[in-house]
């Protein structure tokens, strides 16, 4: 359904270009939740931006394909992308970051999205969706964003994302900046929705708890490359790439699992001038000579590491 092939993207910055995505290939399986995890700057948001045609103005696509049912979205017209967005793919942004228009009621904004896409009277649908995210439609539809708590705004945003019954749902840090109890409630709602609709979803997050709760598959990103792609269970139980191992074992568990590794700072790579070889080599505890010379490919093992190749 959705497949990304050899996508490379730069951002123009003063004095050159910063390589944010480099030769990324990923398939998204229909009906599954694929999580993109990685630290800030790993390229997660740029990747979803490329799918939606919502890249920053200084982004430059160097090559690759974003293929949606055979169509290359990178070559689609703005009007085609406008229809693609929301009808076929919608996004749940972080509500805290001004995803709502503060001057219009929640109901008005939800119905506007139907009208703009030429979809008939959405009121009934809106009420059903608000109930599904466990909000009271009578109260919420007539409220303005500031009248709702952060958790309620986020849930309303999930309802809004489902208004046009999209085939792909992108969850961009859907629970960041919410308190724990609200987060857990939102995980619950998302899990229910996913079960019911068998939506294909992309979960962008740095929160491992969210990944454990919702994801079927996990792609680990580091400095604009995919270092590992695997089933969620196997990533948590047996991460293979040295970076995945460090990432997974650097989150102390509240239940006291102390399989932890503290790592030194190392030197993060300079993305204005990608070094030859493996991008993680500068911080990798298992680096060998080969890693500095040749760039490892994901390959059929789905792990981009020379040390993990047969």
């Amino acid at each position: 359904m959705l497949s990304i092939q050899n996508l490379s993207i730069d951002y123009r910055v003063p004095g050159g270009a910063m390589s944010v995505l480099r030769d990324v290939s990923l398939d998204f399986e229909p009906g599954k939740v694929t999580a993109l995890i990685g630290e800030s700057g790993s390229g997660k948001t740029t990747l979803t931006g490329a799918v939606l045609g919502l890249l920053a103005s200084n982004a430059r696509i160097l090559g690759g394909r974003v293929s949606w049912k055979g169509e290359n979205l990178l070559e689609a017209s703005p009007e085609r992308l406008r229809r693609f967005r929301w009808r076929q793919a919608s996004v749940v942004f972080q509500a805290a970051q001004g995803a709502w228009n503060p001057t219009l009621s929640i109901g008005r904004q939800m119905l506007d999205c139907c009208r703009d896409h030429g979809v008939e009277a959405g009121r009934e649908r809106m009420e059903r969706l608000l109930r599904q995210v466990r909000l009271d439609p009578a109260r919420v539809a007539s409220s303005y964003p500031h009248q709702l708590s952060g958790g309620m705004r986020q849930r309303a945003l999930i309802a809004m994302a489902l208004m046009l019954d999209p085939e792909l749902l992108i969850l961009d840090e859907p629970t960041t900046a919410l308190d724990l109890i609200t987060q857990s409630y939102i995980f619950d709602i998302l899990a229910d929705i996913h079960r019911e609709r068998e939506l294909t979803a992309i979960l962008v997050t740095h929160d491992l708890a969210a990944v454990a709760r919702l994801a079927d598959r996990v792609a680990v990103l580091y400095a604009g490359t995919v270092c590992e792609l695997a089933e969620a269970e196997s990533v948590f139980e047996n991460p293979r790439h040295p970076y995945s191992q460090i990432l997974l074992r650097s989150a102390p568990d509240v239940r006291g699992d102390l399989r932890l590794t503290a790592t030194g700072d190392g030197k993060p790579p300079d993305l204005r001038q990608r070094p030859p070889g493996c991008i993680f080599a500068s911080r990798c505890p298992e680096r060998i000579e080969l890693c500095l010379e040749s760039e490892p490919q994901l390959g059929s093992e789905m792990v981009a590491c020379h040390r993990r190749k047969p």
Binding site: E39, S40, S149, G151, M152, D179, L180, I181, T182, Q183, S184, Y185, F187, D188, A191, H206, L208, A209, V211, A212, R213, A215, A232, E233, F236, E237, Y243, I246, L247, L248, S250, A251, P252, D253, V254, R255, G256, D257, L258, L260, T261, A262, T263, G264, D265, P268
Partner: protein, 324 residues
């Protein structure tokens, strides 16, 4: 000796009663972890310990001395004995001075080492914090460093003055996940050298990690609702709020995480802090609340190994099932 003590301390911030009657005595060399969600008053507690907020009721004592007693002027030595590491390392460092300059300033200001040795001392503390080569880092300004490195500088600055206590308010929340543990380890090392810590965080995982072996306070709407040994609290929470928090944290294991059931709270939303609920602050959300909880505020009382502010703590043990 009690380094810092809060005695029935209330802090009023505008209309908000940010801290409502907290008792806390910090002993030499211990780590106290303070957890709770945003708005619970944990940062206010940190600022009260730092002596930055004058209590509207109760007292703040440093080594037995009420620091807000009329006419009392704190000597520098006492002032310097308590230091801070803030969450936002970018905002808490001077953007236009080099790391070396800003670390040297307090040493000079307080004549803590002979002038000729200031530079050597700065380089020494940078090395100790893993910022090597130290003279390279001393010549940088904050924006040239990563978040993790800046936070090491903040810790260096706090440790440089040889304090007895460091208040660390969310010191790793802004640091990349893979670099957090190393900074927490540095704090453990400083603690092993005898510096006490108050570690304030919303992250129960790092609370358990850094605070292991120490005491933990759980705050809700400006009050401490449960306290005791870190491991006991997290493995066997007595207060329904702490139970709800822990139930909301899925295990980092996809098989188990997909099966968790959150505690059925009656309301998700934190009440308005300007008008805290009557009786037990948690009663509007508590699934076990009874009539008594609405009218009578529970006091923090000892139950087994911990202290808990809940009328029904004993009855909620194990699988809580209350007669209505």
């Amino acid at each position: 000796m009690k380094l810092v003590e809060l005695r029935g301390t209330h802090i009023q911030l505008g209309k908000v009663q940010a801290m409502r009657g907290v008792d806390l005595a910090i002993e030499e060399g211990e780590i106290i972890t303070v957890v709770g969600e945003s708005g619970c008053g944990k940062s206010t507690l940190g600022r009260a310990v730092l002596g930055l907020l004058s209590p509207s009721e109760g007292q703040v004592l440093y080594q037995g001395q009420d620091i807000f007693a009329p006419g009392y002027r704190m000597p520098d030595s006492l002032r310097l004995s308590v230091q801070v590491v803030h969450q936002d390392s970018y905002a808490s460092l001077n953007p236009v001075r080099t790391i070396g300059q800003q670390l040297a300033a307090p040493l000079r200001r307080h004549n803590l080492v002979p002038r000729a040795q200031v530079k050597a001392r700065v380089l020494e503390v940078l090395t100790e914090m893993g910022l090597t080569p130290a003279d390279f880092f001393a010549s940088k300004v904050p924006f040239q460093l990563s978040g993790g490195q800046r936070q090491r500088v903040s810790l260096a600055r706090a440790a440089l003055l040889k304090p007895k206590l460091i208040v660390a308010d969310e010191p790793v929340s802004g640091v990349d996940a893979t670099l957090r543990l190393a900074i927490l380890e540095l704090m453990r090392r400083k603690n092993a050298e005898g510096i006490a810590f108050v570690y304030i965080t919303h992250d129960l995982g790092t609370a358990r990690y850094l605070g292991r072996g120490g005491r933990m306070l759980v705050m809700y709407l400006g009050q401490v609702i449960e306290s005791g040994p870190v491991e006991t609290l997290l493995d066997d929470p007595l207060h329904p709020y702490l139970q709800a928090l822990l139930a909301a944290l899925p295990p980092l294991d996809p098989r188990k995480a997909k099966l968790v059931a959150p505690l059925p709270l009656r309301s998700l939303d934190m009440p308005d802090a300007t008008r805290p609920p009557s009786g037990c602050s948690f009663h509007p959300r508590c699934p076990y609340a009874q009539g008594r909880c609405q009218s009578e505020p529970p006091s923090l009382r000892e139950v087994r190994e911990q202290f808990v502010a809940c009328h029904f703590a004993e009855k909620l043990e194990g699988k809580p099932e209350l007669e209505s």
